[in-house]
């Protein structure tokens, strides 16, 4: 995926006039339209790419470019055209960052004047034509050749809104008008056909006299002329009924909280079985390989370094999948924008905005896209606050860490009718939310007040049944991303870690070998007790961890956890992989299950290493610390300030240190 190159149009200006006249197809196609009118769905359909779609305004916050190929039916020649998906806008006057991402390129193209070979596919939200037409006129008046797509026409027909192609073309000339059908594939086919008419599309006469700084009612007039509007069908009554419950000042929040509780409960209960299958499968694979592979360094690396690291990630696939399924359903159904409506009043008191809920909900998956989605917040100060606190929302990368640690110190069983482990996890999600709001409240006190107005103008799109296909696709994609991205890092880190943890200063390693009189190295099954642990301690990784230990001791952490914290800065879930590698190397326990190995880990004085104090202290550290390079990078990019990104990094990590210190010192007394 690359950002569209806006400067390209300048370099292409050298093309001869002749060439331009002969041009049968556009060089670039822009998708322009109101927010939530279905541009990205069309983009994905036409390019075969997978950009995120959902049912709320402001999903697309930056322009995306892809290739759209057309085959000439006469000579079977394939032409590739650049297709650019722009964030939704209401007019050419941008008032937020995401709108600027659309308006600036449109104006830029028009200014360079080289727009004869650009086609704008203008996506009309047929459910609300007047507003779309207002924007359409503004774009057309810049001189773009346009194609009108009456999108979501089947849905509009239910409301009694029908476009009238004859009257549109009577007014505009032979501008292609496509009416969307229920099948996306069919709509895409109609678009392809219409794009071929590109040479015959008239170049609009520029109306420089139209003053766009003054709002005009032309959209409303054209809606009357170009659309037939009849009495709506009964379907919209159900929509209103749903809103009476979900947006009710009392029932609305109750529904929202109940929904969240259900989600976290099911994260534990639904995913228990698939998690067991994966664990069992990886266990069998390890046993099989250890039987097959000859015992050499490479097989040790695979068995002790790579496989434990990968297992640590794979077992979380079910939970990640369920989390994303719930998020996708909330987004697809149109419920998320209702939730922002319920949240705005509360958010305002903390210097945030109802729209901050979208980054926060996204933050439950990953802070990186979530921080990008803060672009829809038009007030710069609210946006900044949102960006700074979003990483405190418990993301999917913390989930493996929490689940592992909870399994170490919380016994299985139920409290009342909920699982105790699920309850503890729920409490940690809640603590994340508490951190978000307290953080915002504090920052709100220290940040200078800003003059630009705080806005909350949120459209409430019609509810629609979440499309199973979209939900499953989102799920699979995110799981794929998780496995692939985390897998890459974990693979690399576990290899490095294995080397560092297996080798040490030769003289010391020699001593340990002599101490245990290891002639049994040929037979790794019968290593003497304590040999592996001592060797790990003497290794390079052990030495490194020991250097950090004094700093971490007050939090209840030893050098092994220290190594885990260090590697987890690449990505938090790496911690689990690291623990797997380290404990796999340095432990004599029978079990292969990480949580059981960790539970049996002892301190020098014989007490449990992972007692409640240490485990909770570690969880609190993960809850609050900013251990993620990618988040740091995206904050720096979005705020355009290294200083702010560093501030966030040190504040979060400092607060985490203090909080963990307090937890450990209180509980370990």
């Amino acid at each position: 995926m690359q950002k569209p190159n806006l400067l390209k149009s300048k370099t292409l200006k050298v093309k001869s006039a002749e060439e331009k006249e002969n041009r049968l197809l556009p060089r670039k196609i822009l998708l322009v339209g109101n927010p939530n009118s279905g541009k990205t769905t069309l983009f994905n359909q036409l390019t075969g790419l997978n950009q995120k779609i959902a049912n709320y305004p402001g999903v697309t916050v930056e322009s995306k470019s892809g290739k759209f190929s057309l085959i000439d039916p006469s000579n079977r020649i394939k032409t590739e055209i650049e297709l650019i998906d722009l964030p939704g806008i209401y007019s050419l006057n941008a008032i937020s960052e995401d709108e600027k991402q659309a308006v600036v390129p449109i104006i830029q193209f028009a200014k360079t004047g080289d727009i004869e070979d650009i086609l704008v596919i203008f996506v009309v939200d047929t459910n609300n034509p007047a507003r779309s037409l207002h924007l359409y006129l503004a774009v057309r008046n810049l001189g773009f050749k346009t194609l009108l797509l009456m999108n979501m026409a089947p849905m509009a027909a239910e409301k009694g809104i029908y476009p009238n192609i004859e009257s549109i073309q009577r007014d505009l000339g032979p501008v292609p008008v496509v009416i969307s059908s229920k099948s996306r594939g069919k709509t895409a086919g109609l678009i392809r056909e219409a794009v071929r008419k590109f040479p015959s599309i008239p170049i609009p006469v520029e109306h420089n006299s139209v003053d766009h700084s003054v709002f005009n009612n032309q959209g409303v007039e054209l809606e009357k002329q170009w659309f037939t509007i009849k009495e709506p069908s009964q379907k919209s009554a159900r929509q209103k009924m749903a809103d009476r419950i979900f947006m009710h000042p009392v029932w609305g929040p109750i529904c929202f909280l109940t929904l969240l509780l259900l989600v976290f409960q099911s994260l534990f209960t639904f995913s228990a079985y698939p998690t067991d299958w994966i664990e069992g499968g990886m266990d069998k694979l390890t046993r099989f390989l250890s039987g097959v592979l000859s015992d050499n360094l490479l097989s040790q690396l695979v068995l002790e370094g790579v496989l434990p690291g990968l297992t640590g990630i794979f077992v979380f696939i079910p939970q990640i999948a369920f989390l994303f399924m719930f998020i996708a359903i909330m987004e697809e159904s149109g419920y998320l924008s209702r939730a922002t409506f319920l949240a705005d009043n509360l958010m305002r008191r903390f210097g945030l905005n109802g729209k901050s809920l979208i980054p926060f909900a996204g933050g439950a998956a990953c802070a990186v896209p979530a921080i990008l989605s803060a672009r829809t917040i038009s007030n710069p100060r609210e946006r900044l606050l949102t960006i700074l606190v979003t990483p405190w929302v418990t993301c999917s990368a913390r989930l493996p860490v929490f689940v592992t640690l909870i399994a170490v110190f919380v016994p299985e069983g139920n409290t009342g009718w909920v699982s105790t482990r699920g309850l503890v996890l729920g409490v940690f999600y809640l603590l994340g939310v508490v951190a978000v709001f307290s953080g915002a409240w504090l920052l709100n006190l220290f940040f200078k007040p800003e003059k630009s107005p705080s806005l909350f103008m949120m459209e409430l799109p019609d509810y629609r049944a979440p499309q199973v296909k979209t939900v499953i696709k989102t799920m699979l994609e995110r799981v794929g991303d998780f496995v692939w991205n985390a897998g890459k890092i974990i693979l690399a880190i576990s290899v490095v870690l294995w080397v560092l943890a297996s080798f040490g200063p030769p003289s010391e390693m020699q001593k340990i070998n002599e101490k245990y009189a290891v002639q049994s190295l040929e037979n790794p099954e019968n290593l003497p007790l304590g040999y592996k642990a001592e060797k790990l301690e003497a290794s390079f990784a052990g030495k490194f961890g020991k250097i950090m230990e004094p700093v971490l001791k007050p939090l209840g952490f030893d050098w092994k956890i220290g190594i885990g914290l260090l590697t987890s800065f690449a990505a938090r879930e790496v911690f689990v992989g690291t623990m797997n590698t380290i404990y796999g190397l340095g432990n004599d326990a029978d079990s292969d299950k990480l949580s059981e190995i960790m539970a049996s880990e002892k301190r020098p004085d014989g007490s449990k290493r992972f007692d409640a104090a240490t485990s909770l202290s570690l969880m609190v550290f993960f809850l609050l610390a900013m251990q993620c390079m990618s988040t740091f990078a995206v904050v720096k990019k979005e705020t355009r300030s290294l200083k702010l990104a560093l501030l966030q990094l040190f504040l979060m990590t400092g607060i985490a240190y203090v909080a963990s210190f307090a937890v450990y010192q209180t509980l370990s007394v």
Binding site: K159, T340, F341
Partner: protein, 88 residues
Amino acid sequence: MLSIPLSFAQMKASELKVGQKARILSVESGVLGRRLLEMGFIPGKTIQLTGKGPFGSPLAFRVDFLHAALRNAEAELIEIENIESEIR
């Protein structure tokens, strides 16, 4: 029939009661008012307050095919005239 005079009492959209309908008279100028117009809060159209958030904010409005939430401060930019007393 109630003996309410045919009042064209001018008020702001923020003063509507839930469920009440009114006609939009004008929208204040400025960046915000402009955006309201662009979103579809257009003079002459009928506006209905469909709901209020917790503790009275924000407000949800319907205008034709638009369903949108505004804060009270934003809704105050919309001048309306009561049409329900007219109907009665």
